[in-house]
């Protein structure tokens, strides 16, 4: 499944099994997500925990239902491999932390049933399930999906306790108005559309600022940029992902942002803010690197990643939505078969054009 293994020359048997399995890979990704998620819980309190739990349970439930309807005999084993669990987790990280329960329920249905099981289950889906759900929810329910709350540490006065958190999650208690806030990208988009340039928009009091420690409004997965980055580096270190996709996504987003900012700082956000805001890091390390929906070769993955970064920047800068990572991932997912056709590994014993290489004997004879 790893992109590298196709490009490498095969080694003669006997082969040793590295012990990698779907379950172990998913577990490592989940370990990498733990710090950022815990930090998000601390920032946004009980409602965000309930949303996280509900999204995962919803994904597991829909997966079990689909497997049962398909007559699978390995329902328990498939659920235990953690793929639906991880899809739910990633989806929860992209939602507004105080979204109500039905967002989790519908999101799980879209991610698991429409984006994954309809295509044939794990390994068959064309599009990243979590991102399909995220985009479908955003398009379907624009209002609940864009209501961000300020982190408790800023809002002060302590967060909702367990019961109030549950009531906010169940929708019987509207979130207090004082908690409402805008994410950085949303704020800049609104201000730009009002004709306020960025120099003034970001200097104004109360403007959300890019923050390395992540105390700001946003989804669970976009606030703690550094913890997401740390998780991504952990995945790189234990070779769950290769460097191609993350680096290419960040380059594809950062380079145009730097150029744009150098040309007109009043209109284009700087590269650091772009990379630390929204789903940039989460997308680069955790979402775009999905084995199923990314190209097979290293070169293909670089093309794929650059495309995601560039499309994200284009949508953020000129598009109607403040954040474009999910759209960019889906768009490039659709192009993966094309990329895999264009960027092919060299066949062993042949050159790039497919012609047989000179035989070694011929070279020796010439010598």
């Amino acid at each position: 499944m790893n992109g590298d293994s196709l490009a490498l020359a095969p080694v003669a048997s006997p082969h040793a099994h590295g012990g990698a399995s779907v379950g172990r890979t998913m577990l490592r990704v989940q370990i990498a997500l733990v710090p950022a998620t815990l930090y998000g819980f601390w920032l946004f309190g009980w409602p965000s925990f309930f949303l996280w739990l509900a999204t995962i349970l919803s994904c597991l439930g829909w997966e079990a239902l689909c497997l049962k309807m398909a007559g699978s005999t390995r329902i328990r084993a498939t659920l235990a491999d953690g793929s639906a669990f991880l899809t739910g987790w990633l989806l929860a990280l992209t939602l507004p932390p105080w979204a109500p329960w039905w967002v989790a329920l519908v999101g799980g249905f879209i991610a698991i049933v429409i984006a994954k099981q309809v295509f044939g289950g794990l390994g068959q889906n064309v599009f990243n399930p979590a991102m399909v759900a995220r985009v479908a929810l955003l398009v379907s329910f624009p209002l609940p999906l864009t209501q961000w709350v300020a982190p408790l540490a800023i809002a002060g006065g302590g967060g909702p306790d367990f019961v109030d958190g549950l009531r906010i999650f169940l929708g019987s208690l509207p979130p207090p108005d004082t908690m409402a806030s805008a994410s950085l990208l949303g704020h800049t988009k609104t201000e730009l559309s009002r004709g306020v340039d960025l120099l003034h928009a970001l200097a104004a009091p109360g403007a959300p600022l890019p923050s390395w420690i992540g105390i700001r409004a946003g989804s669970l997965g976009e606030t703690a940029s550094l913890l997401i980055l740390a998780g991504g580096l952990y995945l790189l270190a234990c070779r769950v992902i290769s460097w191609h996709v993350p680096l290419a996504v960040l380059a594809g987003l950062g380079i145009p942002a730097a150029i744009g900012h150098a040309v007109d700082p009043a209109r284009y956000l700087d590269a650091t803010t772009q990379l630390l805001s929204g789903a940039a890091l989460l997308g680069a390390f955790f979402i775009a690197t999905d084995y199923v929906t990314s190209p097979n070769t290293g070169a293909g993955q670089i093309v794929f990643g650059l495309g995601i970064g560039l499309v994200t920047w284009i949508i953020r800068t000129w598009g109607g939505y403040p954040e474009g990572m999910a759209f960019a991932v889906l768009l490039m997912n659709a192009l993966v078969p094309v990329i895999d056709r264009l960027v092919r590994p060299r066949i062993l014993g042949r050159d790039r054009r497919g012609r047989p290489l000179d035989l070694p004997q011929g070279k020796e004879g010439a010598r």
Partner: protein
Amino acid sequence: MSDNVGSIVKDGLWDQNVVFAQLLAMCPTMAVTTSGTNGLGMGLATTAVLVVSNVLVSLIRHTVSSQVRIPVFVVLIATLVTVVDMAMNAWLHDLYKVLGLFIALIVVNCAILGRAEAFAVKSGVVASAVDGLAMGLGFTGALTAIGLIREFLGSGTLFAQASNLLGPSFAFLEMKLPGYGGALLMILPPGGFAVLGFLLAGKRAMENRRAARATVVASPAPA
């Protein structure tokens, strides 16, 4: 193609359903099924054209040589569509404003030329009329079903503005789910594809199950 009325009707409504079995006429199926009323109106307009075109094609089937039959059929269908188009503009103006463009496009609806070619040109007038009616009603049913599902999920209503189509006495059909904002995606094209896909899968699953049951019932009998 048998002239047995029962099997023609069954073909049109279910076995050879234009949308769910032949997968024809996808353009109107996707485009107008944003509400049950739109689907019903489009389906009925198509049915009217289909019945008359089938009858006319069947009547002239011995007169027109096979080399020029397609242009002749197209002219016939285009005439009928224009009549329906003007009639709807005159008497169902509100619905016409919603469906306007797609009414004119009935002329290129492959279901109509398809039935002319596959059925009417080979069959008698009565059988052709029955076939047109059954196919049209099957199409109407499919469009209305998709439209109702999309409308319900997308805006929380059922048969909104049905009185525009059927007259004020049918206003009782209009229902609204209170307190439901609706999932906008279902009204947009992806919702159409998703609903059609699930309905197709459901029809297949139902038929597979029925076939499996039939073999189970049939197999012990000889033994």
